[in-house]
């Protein structure tokens, strides 16, 4: 006979086996419902067991009850507002320290807490000896070992839930935060005590702690309270971030004192990944190591590709010769030789660089290092107005801006997302690489790799500074904090990296076969006509158009040919190079184009550097612009991106050329 209904909230960090436990308990009787007002999904399942009906509510995975994301708000609000009879926190036995952080917060609320020590088989295999009775005694909770994927310990967990539901709700477990913090908490508690209704709803100490941590969601709970002005006044003089950090430290201190008492070996267990992270995410070494690896990547991209480029160059040289020798029609020979072979060839030439770059990026990503890059950059990025998580889409921008802008969907906060979307095109995509390789190789010789590396770093710097500017002027407020699961390091798979390289490289080649061919044919037509004029001269249509645009770029030291190349680069950045190849009529021979550029008095090392900077920063390609429109849902942000990036490019190129003229004089 069914006696009563017990409402159980199932919570825990992501990836601890929570859903496996939920499924093991509820079987096929689960149903899915949506929370009102939020998009985050929850699952509700029913289980009849030992004369009880258990309503199991599976809450979104969360690392803490600090409400930064929608997931955390859902989990916390359910526990606070719905007051379930029992809260089951599923713990990953192999990572007790991190998991117990959430436990300390659940205990602060004063929940009837049952801890499910999941993956206990893995912990035992590692040699961990977890003293369950001691944890129960020290924390005042019930604890059960489970191996959910094998269905082990589930009945014991259900027994513990039923037993706990009939016990009194414990007093909130208190962590000592130190004299200064405790005084502030006490003061807040006194203020809050004047609102009885509020105090009946939320534990006073917990609410005081959250207010002192600057928790906006907790603050919103005071919106209709009479004590709000006094609370605001008290908090206004305090550095809440400092308090938040201090209290987080105290919770970890509490855990570090607890662990040696309850676990014989797990305290000293540090995985190989953790040890490597001590070095690669070191406060002082992290960024230099990151920059060093990036430099190595670009140096190799430049140097190792040269023999392959030489071979492609030879092939196109022979092709151009064959065309010139076998086609009588002058216009067709010009279309093929000066147009398609020169334009497309000058872009194809750099396919080895693109393939090597994508291969190396894939290796870094597969090894687990790129995820660390976001972590390393978080402190710097946060101070500049965006969160470290934004660095992942930005890093993806090294490949192509289009998927990178789409990847901003992973950012919860709308302002963070828009800022990241607008600054991601400053990260130098693969399409810009050919322009750098040609110009840096021509004008900076052995230093070309370092120059290219410098351009990539400049892209990052401009992106971060722009984010700071947007945060200060347009999207006022603070970026949201983030917690990120770092995947363990492992030896990268060469096979997977080759696959990634092939896929990305194929996309590049497809663009060559479509957009770039189209672009260079248009440029050839404009350079060839009207009939009778010298090909690509100032008297041709393209010359007239270029002359019209030249005043806009003249202060940068650019002439009409560069202006035309940049305009057509809007189709795709590789077209900048294709256009130069076509306009200089040098065929696909990289050496000839290099020689032509050196011979042109317009091109100096300073102008070449300025052109690279302009190409790096100016208006993203048409594909990226379209995706900004789609993702932001606004023409306004699309136009803003075009105008802002072009203005930044112009100013930066101007400064570069002027400084370059002094340095290289």
């Amino acid at each position: 006979m069914v006696e009563n209904k017990i409402r159980v909230a199932l919570t825990g960090n992501p990836n601890v086996g929570k859903t496996t436990i939920f499924n093991a308990i509820t079987g096929a009787r689960q149903k899915v419902g949506n929370w009102p007002g939020v998009t985050v999904e929850k699952k509700v399942g029913i289980k009849e067991y030992a004369g009880h009906i258990l309503e199991i509510v599976d809450l979104p995975g969360t690392y803490s009850l600090t409400a930064y994301s929608a997931d955390e708000v859902v989990a916390r609000d359910y526990i606070l507002e719905e007051k379930p009879d029992v809260v089951v926190q599923v713990l990953d036995s192999t990572n007790l320290e991190r998991n117990l952080y959430l436990s300390t917060q659940l205990l602060e609320i004063g929940t009837n807490l049952v801890l499910a020590l999941n993956m206990s088989d893995l912990a035992e295999r590692r040699g961990d000896e977890i003293n369950v009775p001691m944890i129960e005694k020290l924390l005042g909770v019930a604890m059960v070992r489970t191996t959910a994927n094998e269905g082990k310990g589930i009945n014991n967990l259900l027994d513990a839930i039923i037993s706990k539901s009939s016990s009194n709700v414990p007093l909130p477990h208190e962590i000592q935060y130190g004299k200064k913090v405790e005084e502030r908490i006490c003061h807040l508690e006194k203020i809050l005590a004047e609102d009885r209704a509020l105090m009946n709803r939320y534990p006073p100490k917990w609410l005081s702690i959250k207010l002192l941590e600057g928790d906006e969601n907790a603050n919103s709970k005071l919106s209709s309270s009479s004590v709000q002005p006094e609370v605001e006044k008290f908090l206004s003089g305090l550095d809440l971030e400092e308090y938040e950090a201090e209290m987080a430290d105290k919770r970890y201190e509490f855990i570090s004192r607890l662990l040696p008492q309850v676990c014989k070996t797990c305290v000293e267990k540090v995985s190989a990944s953790d040890m490597i992270d001590k070095v690669l995410t070191n406060k002082y070494l992290g960024i230099p190591i990151f920059l060093t690896l990036m430099w190595g990547m670009f140096e190799l991209t430049f140097t190792f590709a040269t023999p392959f480029m030489e071979l492609i160059d030879m092939f196109f040289g022979l092709l151009a010769e064959a065309v010139a020798a076998n086609i009588d029609s002058s216009w067709l020979a010009s279309l093929l030789g000066d147009g398609i072979i020169a334009g497309v060839g000058s872009v194809i030439l750099f396919v080895p660089n693109i393939f090597i770059l994508f291969f190396l990026l894939a290796l870094l990503e597969d090894s687990g290092y790129l995820a660390r890059a976001a972590f390393i950059m978080d402190r710097l990025m946060y101070s500049m107005g965006i969160q470290g998580k934004s660095f992942i889409p930005m890093l993806m921008g090294f490949g192509c801006s289009v998927p990178a802008i789409m990847a901003t969907r992973t950012l919860e906060d709308e302002k963070d997302r828009l800022i990241t979307m607008l600054v991601t095109p400053f990260m130098s995509c693969g399409a810009r690489m050919p322009v750098y390789v040609l110009l840096a190789g021509t004008f900076f010789g052995k230093q070309a790799g370092s120059v290219i590396f410098g351009l990539y770093v400049l892209g990052i710097i401009v992106a971060i500074l722009s984010a700071k500017l947007f945060r200060s002027i347009i999207f006022k407020g603070k970026p949201s904090s983030f917690i990120m699961e770092l995947p363990p390091y492992h030896r990268p798979s060469v096979g997977n990296s080759f696959k990634y390289m092939r896929n990305q490289g194929s996309l590049y080649l497809k663009r060559v076969g479509t957009v770039i061919v189209g672009g260079v044919v248009i440029i050839w037509l404009l350079a060839y006509f009207p009939q009778g004029v010298e090909y690509g001269s100032a008297e041709s249509y393209i010359g007239s158009l270029g002359k019209l645009l030249e005043p806009l770029v003249a202060p940068l030291g650019f002439d009409w040919k560069i202006a035309i190349s940049l305009i057509f680069g809007f189709l795709a950045k590789e077209v900048v190079l294709g256009s130069l190849g076509t306009l200089y009529g040098t065929g696909a021979d990289e050496g000839m184009l290099s020689s032509a550029l050196v011979a042109d008095s317009i091109f100096t090392p300073a102008v070449a550097l300025g052109l690279m900077v302009f190409t790096l920063l100016y208006v993203p390609c048409i594909g990226a612009i379209a995706v900004i429109k789609k993702e932001s849902g606004s023409w306004k942000w699309m136009l803003f991106s075009i105008v802002y990036s072009t203005a930044v490019a112009w100013i930066m190129a101007f400064v570069t050329v002027k400084m370059g003229n002094i340095i290289f004089a």
């Binding site: 490597i276 070095v279 430099w295 190595g296 140096e299 140097t303 190792f304 030489e310 790799g449």
Partner: protein, 146 residues
């Protein structure tokens, strides 16, 4: 365990000195604070960016030495990451050497007429290759245990 860490500590200290000294020397030559032929232009070429890379790797070993001197097991992590970085950059310079060799001796590419193997025989290459040999012979010493 003590003896093993002593051996690793000695290696870390030696490599720290080598990488930092050569790295700084290359940076000073690259920025023209020292003449190109100071000590040896072939063994220690003027190379600003390459010198910085060596200095960063040297700093990793330096941290390792400091951690070992405190008796911390974290020293092993620095030694491990240090030698991985040494080998990575050794491979990078070796690939550059190979590419230049193909350009010069197989393709007879323009700009490589004066190239000799000594041009690319840079500190990151020979230190990286020695590191690779040490790692292969001494892999167990570097292994990070849980």
């Amino acid at each position: 365990m003590e003896n093993k860490n002593k051996a690793l500590t000695s290696f870390t200290l030696l490599w720290e000195i080598m990488y930092l000294a050569i790295g700084i020397l290359q940076v000073l030559k690259g920025t023209k604070f020292l003449p190109d032929d100071f000590i040896s232009a072939i063994l220690f070429p003027p190379e600003f960016a390459g010198g910085l890379v060596l200095a960063v790797v040297g700093a990793v070993y330096l941290y390792g030495t400091i951690e070992f001197s405190k008796g911390s097991v974290e020293g092993r992590a620095y030694a491990y990451v240090g030698i991985i970085l040494s080998m990575l950059f050794g491979v990078l310079y070796f690939l550059t050497f190979t590419a230049d060799l193909i350009n010069a001796w197989v393709l007879f590419a323009e700009g490589f007429e004066q190239w000799t193997p000594l041009v690319d025989f840079k500190p990151a290459l020979y230190l990286g290759l020695i590191s690779l040999a040490i790692y292969i012979g001494w892999e167990e010493e570097f292994r990070l245990r849980e």
